[in-house]
């Protein structure tokens, strides 16, 4: 069975534990990159990543974007949104529908 994980700074992601998602607190960019790579090769189908972490990981995220699995979903952290996640949803909609309907 596939699993769900969330990667980000400890205080933002810990609450996900309560709903049964596996939590991986990271601090540095390098650490985050390694964690995401490890999760991707370990049967995780959905990986939530906080925007604060994702903003420095463009290349890694782009790489998994082209793969079928895992789906990397950006979420805002407890310090607010950087609008990267929403931008990606808009881009995906545009790709799927042909025009940005949002």
């Amino acid at each position: 069975m596939y699993k769900i994980a969330v990667v980000g700074d400890k205080d933002s992601v810990l609450a996900f534990k309560a709903i049964g998602v596996e939590v991986f607190p990271v601090i540095e960019t390098e650490e985050a990159r390694k964690t995401i790579d490890r999760l991707a090769s370990n049967n995780y189908a959905v990986i939530f990543v906080t925007e604060q972490v994702a903003k420095d990981l463009d290349e890694t995220i782009e790489r998994y974007n082209r793969a079928l699995l895992p789906a990397i979903i950006l979420i805002p952290s407890n310090q607010g949104s950087l609008n990267i996640g929403l931008q990606r949803i808009k881009d995906n909609v545009e790709k799927a529908v042909g025009v940005n309907i949002l």
């Binding site: 205080d11 601090i27 407890n78």
Partner: protein
């Protein structure tokens, strides 16, 4: 018991009390520009010896854990009566028991959650619980573990592990305090139990739980009788506060209920009840004999660790200084 046996320990602790982090230093930490800067201020305190172990401010928990360990080993070194410190460190034993029971029953490793400051070393505790060998345990602790396991295996609700063991923990602490026969410590426990029960009331009412549930979570042994709580389940918190207007808790209840009605949060109550305990503990500031100052120093130190945690979490998450200051507990010095 002879109060003079504590004299040497007290004079030593009075010196150490001067090294507690005072309010002004806490304020400087709160106003620091970043978590790293706040950490640097700790360099000027007793915490400096642990700072070499960490590279980043995010690892502050390591420092706090080491300091807690150091304080307990120090307390065991200075105290002439081991039982006195046992009362306080029992809380960590029960914490470890909870962690290990859950790890065992849920078959997940949770070792990183263990805190090695209890009366029983965690390694030993692990072996005992693994083999279900409770011969070395105090009878109350043993009964607690056995009853908890039976209950848990019956309805498979992990929350029951916490609820059951908490009840036994306070029973155990009270029985140790009774054996010691020190009024100050017994009252300290009674106040703690009352405050926990009041907090439970807030939460039970917020979650609209049944009377049966309340019955299992209200602790016995406080100044306020269990019936006071059982009979007020259907009252509003406002009414409960009025009912308790004859007690010392009225003031903090009144203020917390006000905030609770406005925000639905019990943060104020948690802070005020910590402050209430601190106020009680401060009475021992000028005592030169008896066990009071030992308990006071330990509580002062635990509060200090809690405060540093509040500051560091706040700093790392960029919480506004005013909000951090509001959450900070009353300090001993």
């Amino acid at each position: 018991m002879d109060k003079l046996i504590y004299t040497q320990a007290i004079s030593r602790l009075k010196v150490l009390e001067t090294r507690l982090i005072e309010r002004t230093k806490m304020d400087r930490m709160i106003d620091a520009s970043s978590a790293e800067e706040a950490m640097k201020i700790l360099q000027e305190s007793e915490y400096s010896i642990h700072l070499g172990k960490i590279k980043r401010a995010e690892e502050y928990e390591v420092v706090l854990k080491d300091e807690l360990k150091r304080i307990y080993s120090l307390m065991y070194e200075v105290t002439p009566v081991k039982q006195l410190i046992d009362i306080m460190s029992l809380r960590y034993d029960y914490h470890n028991i909870k962690v290990l029971l859950k790890a065992k029953e849920l078959k997940t490793p949770l070792d990183h959650l263990l805190i090695d400051v209890g009366t029983i070393p965690t390694e030993k505790m692990k072996v005992y619980l693994e083999n279900e060998d409770y011969t070395d345990f105090n009878p109350i602790m043993r009964e607690g573990i056995e009853k908890t396991l039976i209950r848990y295996r019956n309805d498979l609700d992990p929350q029951m592990i916490d609820i059951n063991l908490d009840a036994y923990m306070y029973k155990h602490m009270v029985s140790q305090a009774d054996e010691l026969g020190e009024g100050f410590i017994s009252k300290f426990l009674k106040i703690s139990i009352d405050l926990i029960n009041l907090k439970t009331m807030f939460r039970v009412k917020k979650q609209n739980k049944e009377k049966d549930f309340l019955e299992t979570v209200i602790l016995q042994g406080g100044i306020l009788d269990k019936d006071v709580f059982m009979n007020s389940l259907n009252d509003s918190m406002d009414n409960l506060a009025q009912k308790l207007s004859y007690t010392d808790y009225y003031n903090i209840l009144r203020l917390s209920v006000e905030d609770y009605l406005k925000t639905g949060k019990i943060n104020t109550f948690e802070k005020l009840s910590d402050d209430f305990i601190m106020e009680y503990i401060k009475k021992s500031k000028f005592m030169s004999f008896g066990p009071e100052p030992l308990l006071a120093y330990l509580t002062a130190k635990e509060t200090e660790i809690k405060n540093i945690r509040i500051i560091m979490v706040g700093k790392l998450n960029k919480v506004a200084p005013e909000s951090i200051r509001e959450r900070l507990r009353e300090t001993y010095v």
